[in-house]
């Protein structure tokens, strides 16, 4: 299923995460299913704990990988409704949620994704989303007010 080039790329992605200080994130290889996932814990500036997970799609790096916020679960908005209930939302910068309800964070849209984008940058956008999310919780204002629309350049 995976090409040698894909496997080399995933090993490199892991190495870059470690070397660039994103040591809380790793690329994991699931032996039994021969699948990959990049995931790890993230702490916000306020100290709250979150978990991010990026299941690696078969077409990676040409195919955009989704990024899910897996903890806390469920994830609530300021008004107590679930973030996942919004679906694809500009106000909260989310894409279609996972079938099990995990919120999918918008990092790059399909129309903007290209294979030179590193997982490190995807996690970086995840961390920015978390900070904006906490501002939303603190103020009730839409998350979109705290982050600019994703830049077109990688």
């Amino acid at each position: 299923m995976w090409t040698d080039e894909q496997r080399r790329r995933l090993v490199l992605e892991h190495e870059i995460l470690q070397r660039e200080g994103f040591t809380q994130f790793s690329v994991y290889w699931y032996r039994s299913t021969d699948t990959y996932e990049a995931s790890g814990a993230a702490s916000s500036n306020s100290g709250r704990a979150y978990s991010l997970a990026i299941p690696i799609p078969s077409g990676f790096p040409y195919q955009r990988p989704p990024m899910y916020l897996t903890e806390p679960f469920p994830l609530y908005m300021f008004d107590g409704t679930r973030v996942s209930s919004l679906g694809v939302s500009h106000q909260m910068h989310t894409l279609a949620p996972c079938s099990n309800g995990f919120v999918q964070l918008c990092h790059w849209r399909d129309a903007r994704w290209h294979s030179n984008i590193l997982l490190q940058k995807v996690f970086l956008k995840g961390l920015l989303w978390i900070e904006a999310y906490e501002q939303h919780l603190a103020t009730g204002r839409p998350l979109a007010e705290f982050v600019l629309t994703m830049a077109e350049r990688a």
């Binding site: 290889w29 032996r31 040409y62 195919q63 294979s115």
Partner: protein, 487 residues
Amino acid sequence: MGDPQQQQMIREAMKAIAERKPGRSKLVYDKTKRTIVAVVEGAQTPRALNITADDADMFAVVTVSSRWLREQWPQIMRDRVTSTLFSSWDDGDAFTQCNLGIHPAPSIIQGAVLFGDGIEPPDGTQLRVILTPTQNSNLDPSTFVAPDGSTHCAEGRRTSNNSDEAVTAVFVDVQPALATRRAGILETSILSDKSVLVFGVGTGGAHAAIELAKCGVGRLILVDPDRLSVGNVVRHPGGLSQVGRLKVKVVCDLIRDKNPDAQILTHPVALTYANVETMKPLIAQADVVICATDNRPSKLLVNKLCIEANVIAVYGGAFRRAYGGQVLRVRPRQSPCHECFVAAMPEESTDIEVSSVADAEEIAYSDRPVAIEPGLSLDVLPIANMVTKLALMELLAGKPSSLSILKRDFDAPWYLWLNRPEPGTQYASWPPLSESSDEMTINRWYGIYFERDLACSACGDFTSALAASYGIDAASLETLSSLPSKE
């Protein structure tokens, strides 16, 4: 019918007009009589003859496929008659044998070809084509050459409302007739052994596929999961009568109506990673791939698969509202690929047209929808034409053709076209077409050069280059031991 001499003069005049050469008589407009008349040239007192409604009826034409008749010849020799169906067009002004094309008229009539007058046609026959052996070596469209070399002149007769009227019979040999219009530019069968795979047969892809078929490309593979909608019809070559059909089937029929010998394979499947194993063998069969899809993921997927298969690909796309467009030709590992293009020109590569709900969903959030934008077929076709031409140049590579001279003109990897200086774009300040001699303007193609990225993730060695930039030994990436694993 009027006087036989008048009929003959009108027939000659019409023939001369059709063949664009002077004849003994000609048709002119008589201002005093306010009608078209036939006059005999060279006569001291030109005799003007009014064309009556009866005369006009005389010009009804029945068209029969020569190839079909050759195939039927043993049966005609045995039974003296063979039946066939004709499309009746324009209130009986033209009768086209249904075998010739795939689009019949709303009215179909029963016809028969008879070997000699006096043969009784089958019941229900409304149109007869009667063959009479002739020694006349002057082959005109009414003369048929049988497989045994004998020649036969044909007369058409139509039975309608208890009357029996003459109809001009014409035989056509489709492929030779089509080839004569390409002769000297595209040699007869130079492209008949070539295969082109077209991903996306919307307005641009359909147009490119049909144009290539008209050029004589022998095999076309069409891939598109969509069906023709009413909204498509204003731009797509398919019409309202085709709404609801799969686009690949619509385009297949349009091609068959232009090049009946073309082999066409249709695959109504989506161009996604889930269907990669379906796509790979299709790409492997193609001499050139045309990617006329309208979203980046599909283009990058085609790019990856074509580089792997070492197949040349041509990518075409319109900018939003079709204010312009671009064409990229990728010769794997020789010229920049689509990933190189995205990296080199991110702005240009993301300016895509929003012409369908799927396109809009690709871009929009559900709480901030993007409207489907209008765009004119008129503005898409220049881009489709360029895609076709670049594909044609690749198909002709290494073959003797008068089009080879264009090789120097189509050397660049990327081509830009603007239909209008769209406000809000980097092109808004372009000078008017009429005032510019050396600045970039609308309605001109610009071939633009940029370098292939040797560290491209699709056509280069991105991983090694990236590893080096981080001081990582690329050789260490070969093992999985450095990755944490889970069961």
